[in-house]
Symmetry: C2
Subunit: 334 residues, 2 copies
């Protein structure tokens, strides 16, 4: 059975949310989980649950990388952190994948340095699944690489396309380049160079896409630099929160609104589920030599459970081998 290493100390609601999500995952899916973290604390948390003890083990890690700490801390000062120890389990083949909802920069840094990159891939990218009008789209990179070269962006397109096909199940997904307009002449120099690389490739490149296209559902894989991707992600998340807040405020401020809310409760819950990040659980860090999933800082048990599910699927489909083979065929030197 696949063994997924999970950072028990990472995320705003750790260890409670992580341990609960891990327990749910072993109940629901054919996986084993290795909880990495401070043993006493994790044990205590686990003792609150009933589960098959042969399916969850604990690996002790002395230190915790805090959310605000610089990524370099993970590899320089905290070699015994749950992130570093978890990544090492992967490196030593004692686990097939690693999930953490902790310090994103720390996970990227530890994974890149300790696992190394996939053959021919030059930089890792974080891929995020976002709901849209017709289904989902994948944005890559959401913050691993804020100052990429055209070849990095091109490889994000390649990796995102592979992920979309293998994990999200759509053959030959469309790939778009996030830009300020549709014409090939638009954008900064490195974006224009990326356009050329993508156009000359065998990918299903549909040209430039704009901010509005992220939600239209007309493009599957959306390529951008980590700065733009990170802002886009955070804008979308906080906007969903803000709109929900505005709407609730309006509804609760009148009797008609309150009655309406009562009648429409089921609709609101379905709506909430549709825009809920935790359905996908986590964001794969693509390009490193191993399956690594990064969770949202706010990960709840459901998000952790789903991240474990997707991690297992990634291992199962062996997408890293796929990426290597595709990249070999279209390799472009930086």
């Amino acid at each position: 059975m696949l063994k997924i290493a999970v950072d028990a100390m990472g995320g705003d609601y750790a260890p409670h949310a992580v341990v609960t999500g891990a327990v749910e995952a072993v109940k629901k899916f054919d996986v084993c989980v290795v909880l990495v973290g401070q043993e006493e604390i994790v044990k205590e948390e686990l003792s609150k649950h009933k589960y098959d003890h042969s399916r969850i083990e604990i690996v002790h890690a002395d230190q915790v990388v805090e959310m605000h700490e610089s990524p370099a801390v993970t590899i320089r000062k905290k070699r015994n952190s749950s992130i570093s120890v978890g990544i090492n389990l992967l490196k030593e083949n004692r686990a097939s994948a690693f999930f953490s909802a902790g310090n994103t920069g720390g996970v990227v840094c530890a994974a890149t340095i300790n696992l190394g990159m996939l053959e021919t891939i030059e930089r890792p990218g974080i891929a995020i699944v976002m709901p849209n009008m017709k289904g989902v789209s994948l944005i890559i990179d959401a913050g691993a690489n804020i100052d990429p070269k055209p070849v990095h962006l091109f490889q994000y397109g390649l990796m995102g396309s592979t992920y979309f096909e293998e994990i999200l199940g759509k053959p030959n997904p469309s790939v778009g380049l996030l830009n300020v307009g549709e014409e090939a002449s638009k954008g900064t120099d490195y974006v224009k160079e990326t356009y050329q690389l993508l156009e000359q490739s065998a990918l299903n490149f549909i040209g430039n896409v704009e901010g509005k296209d992220i939600f239209s559902g007309d493009c599957d894989v959306i390529v951008c630099d980590g700065f733009v991707g990170n802002v886009t992600l955070k804008v979308s998340e906080s906007m969903a929160d803000t709109l929900t807040h505005f709407l609730k405020e309006e509804l609760l401020s009148s009797l008609g609104g309150k009655i309406g809310l009562l009648f429409a409760k089921r609709s609101f819950l379905k709506f909430k589920k549709k825009i809920d990040y935790s359905e996908y659980g986590g964001a794969p860090l693509l390009g490193v030599n191993g399956v690594v999933i990064i969770g949202h800082g706010r990960s709840n048990p459901k998000a952790v459970m789903n991240a474990i599910k997707f991690a297992a699927k990634e291992v199962d489909r062996n997408i890293n081998q796929d990426i290597i083979e595709k990249a070999r065929k279209v390799h472009v030197k930086a």
Copy 2:
């Protein structure tokens, strides 16, 4: 009475929406409007309305810059377009401000070249008002300058701060730099350099802000490059549309939802008004030597009317003089 030049041919619903908005503006505010466009068409449209004929005049412009045309077309090939003619009215002091919902790049290009820049300001920036949890924030730049230098970004902070104070009425507004994290060490090189310029200035600089802070209401003026600003704006707009669509779909798919919608109709309308861009009408193009307002392509009559209102306010407060005086005090060479 102030005279506002309005591009009658610009925008997806021109000339109908523009002319209707202009008629409403002269009824509601102490302004005169000069409608710039193909005379016969504008006349025909105007004939559908009752209004004080001394308050609206038409200035003929032979050509129209289409939405998809390159900005350079406006100044090279279409010197008789409604955009070029409108900007020239401003240059010749025959109008106090110019509004267009037409080709944004065209307006930026014509304004920059024909009006020139304000003393000590190096590049124009588009400022967008966005609703947030506590009121509104101003994002600058939303797409005029996709590859800015630190000094341009610094001047966006200065201009945005002046606009927020004079037009949105908050003394000493806070200024934040859009980045991928809060620490001063975060971001690309030019963002880090901008951080230093803003920190050393007399502006009320509160440091880096993230995508989520655009809606939190904790920062008044948010500075970013035009690439990130453009993507952010389009993501926000399309997300508002998408969420409204999802919610409507869910509500209409069940009886409870339909009844709820009926009861809560007034709440939904108030919610819609809160997130409605047309309340602010348009985005000022700051830095050029004249008052220029850029409208959304989808501008409806209300948006046009409100843009005219804000244009008049900008002229009235003489914010360009304010910007020049502030910029003189803190001038930084590129």
